[in-house]
Symmetry: C2
Subunit: 357 residues, 2 copies
């Protein structure tokens, strides 16, 4: 794709905080943004040139988007595949493409792809019935993690099972939907690599982040993570294999387990900008949001080296009330999402706490 | 003023690139922006929650702004004073206030204020007739610079005169409007200091920038400028005197001449974010746009230390065509204004070229 000139318009499916920070980055580059999101007062709409408040599959909305936009991208992976196909049919480039999203939408397809691409995961099996779930648990041995194949995020739609019987029960608890049964990863820590690939096939990875989850939700990322050169290289190799294997265009987040022996396993791919990449806004030469916009707009990728050490912390629910105190702390950079309601556990803002490299 | 909580709305009079970058900074802090600007498709409107396309003095527009906003600010100094008074009358705080703008709108009032505040300028005299202009030129001796008292920017509305007769002619050429007649500054270089003051009276100055003008338009700023500690301290003292003297709230740019003997003279005050402060976006702990939003919203000011050395260059008119090449340069950070027409001399974008401190 030819680089979109300034003044062009980028469509974004999804108007949450990721769409909002993408829109702010696009604005910095002189690009206009149109948000498609059914929510009337969504966070991204308020920093964008236009908001189409309609469902993602609404044909009129998609036609308008195709007419206005030089490229369309997504802020979340669970966009209906048909919407992307429709946009492509209307002649507008879509990045990342439907295949990458389809693979990332299904945990079994995702892990199957990853292992085939040379990016190893934990052992796993698909199960479509309680009996299959029990059998998979028996085959894998010991405790297993059971997740719905599709949807679920921030720890929703998953549970541990300590026995084949428990696995069958979890299968039923999850609503009898198709699941993936995963062997546990005996990991030392959770890392992630955020990487981008543009239409020309150029790939650039950011330094790794080390992540801490609480109740299934990312709480804190520290970057650049303290890893040896070999681990950094392995992670970058994995990122490259994944992006090339998916013919991916845009930024993706790849969550990794670092096992006790130092080897890496891919936990999951997020085909979008990623919470564990928020540190780049204040600690890398280009931030992940601008990098995504550059990638999908056909621009060259920006440099990815770290410029500061950052501890990124999510503010959930009424933790957003800490903002006044954090605003007075000279080490803190604030990123606030403009959400109207501070519901418990909802990501409201994040703070990047800076120190020298 | 109590700090505005996230989710509050800030009004901005003026929707050009300064308003746009203010809106992007407000968006990052979770604040909504309403732009008042008569231009239907102005740059700031496309990154803001709402745009009122009306004249700055339109009573209905001002009433709407007062109803929506927790505070109203400006992106340019030539806002009609009556508009700000009207907003205050409607009960909405305005920052900077009408007095600061009124003083900055009139070059004679400005220089009178500056000298009284202990911030010395070049010698000057007011002239309301061609005869007064000639007499002022004779009194000041030698070559003088004649500017309209009001309006004029980027070198417009001013001319040099080498003799009293020439001064009278310039007065007539400028339309017979009241003027200021200024002695030339034998300056070594042009510097500027960007500083902020919040409602609580806290003042913070950024490191100095060194500026190069071409044809009256800022071409390039380099920051932090190479100055000794004494000069830096003097500039900061001047900034503090100016902001305190004006009871100023927000960011202001103060243009300085560094004379051959190392002393400083104030050239002019810009009661707003300033082109020579754009380097802070990529080279300071807080950027001037966020600092302005913090100041007017009643938040604590952010830290102002430099984090990189930056050379900021304005892209004028069709120089904006250099953007694709600049986007490929890993040392360059781009800021593009989204203006539809690249007219000759028009500020279209700027690029911050980064190097280590």
């Amino acid at each position: 794709m030819k680089p979109l000139p300034p003044g062009s318009t980028i469509g974004i499916l999804g108007g949450g905080q990721l769409g909002r920070m993408l829109a702010l980055a696009a604005g910095r580059l002189g690009l206009d943004v149109v948000i498609l999101d059914p929510e009337p007062d969504c966070p991204a709409a308020r920093v964008s040139a236009r908001h189409i408040a309609a469902h993602y599959s609404d044909p009129t909305a998609l036609a308008t988007l195709a007419e206005l936009c030089g490229v369309v991208t997504v802020e979340f992976e669970n966009v209906p595949a048909g919407a992307l196909e429709a946009l492509i049919g209307l002649g507008v480039p879509v990045a990342p493409g439907p295949r990458a999203l389809a693979i990332a939408q299904d945990r079994v397809d995702e892990k199957t792809f990853l292992n085939a691409a040379g990016a190893p995961t934990v052992a796993f099996a698909a199960a479509g019935t309680a009996e299959e779930a029990a059998r998979a648990a028996a085959d894998l041995g010991g405790r297993v993690l059971i997740k719905t194949r599709r949807e679920g995020y921030d720890g929703k739609g998953q549970a541990w099972a300590a026995s084949p019987e428990a696995a069958a029960a979890v299968f039923r608890d999850l609503g009898g939907r198709p699941v993936i049964v995963e062997a546990p990863a005996a990991f030392r820590r959770e890392l992630s690599v955020i990487a981008a690939r543009n239409w020309a096939g150029m790939v650039a990875a950011f330094p790794l982040a080390e992540n801490v989850h609480e109740n299934g939700i990312l709480r804190r990322s520290t970057a650049p993570a303290g890893v040896d050169a070999k681990t950094a290289q392995r992670a970058e190799d994995i990122a490259r294999k994944v992006l090339v294997g998916l013919d991916y265009v845009g930024v993706a987040g790849i969550e990794l387990f670092e096992l006790e022996d130092g080897s890496l396993r891919v936990n999951e791919i997020a085909p979008r900008v990623h919470n564990s990449g928020h540190w780049t806004q204040d600690g890398a030469a280009t931030d992940q949001f601008e990098q995504h916009i550059r990638a999908v707009a056909g621009w060259p990728l920006g440099p990815t080296h770290a410029t500061a050490r950052v501890e990124m912390t999510n503010l959930l629910g009424d933790e957003v009330l800490q903002l006044p105190a954090l605003a007075a702390d000279p080490a803190c950079r604030l990123h606030v999402y403009g959400k109207r309601e501070a519901r418990a556990g909802r990501k409201m803002a994040h703070v990047n706490r800076i120190s020298g490299l």
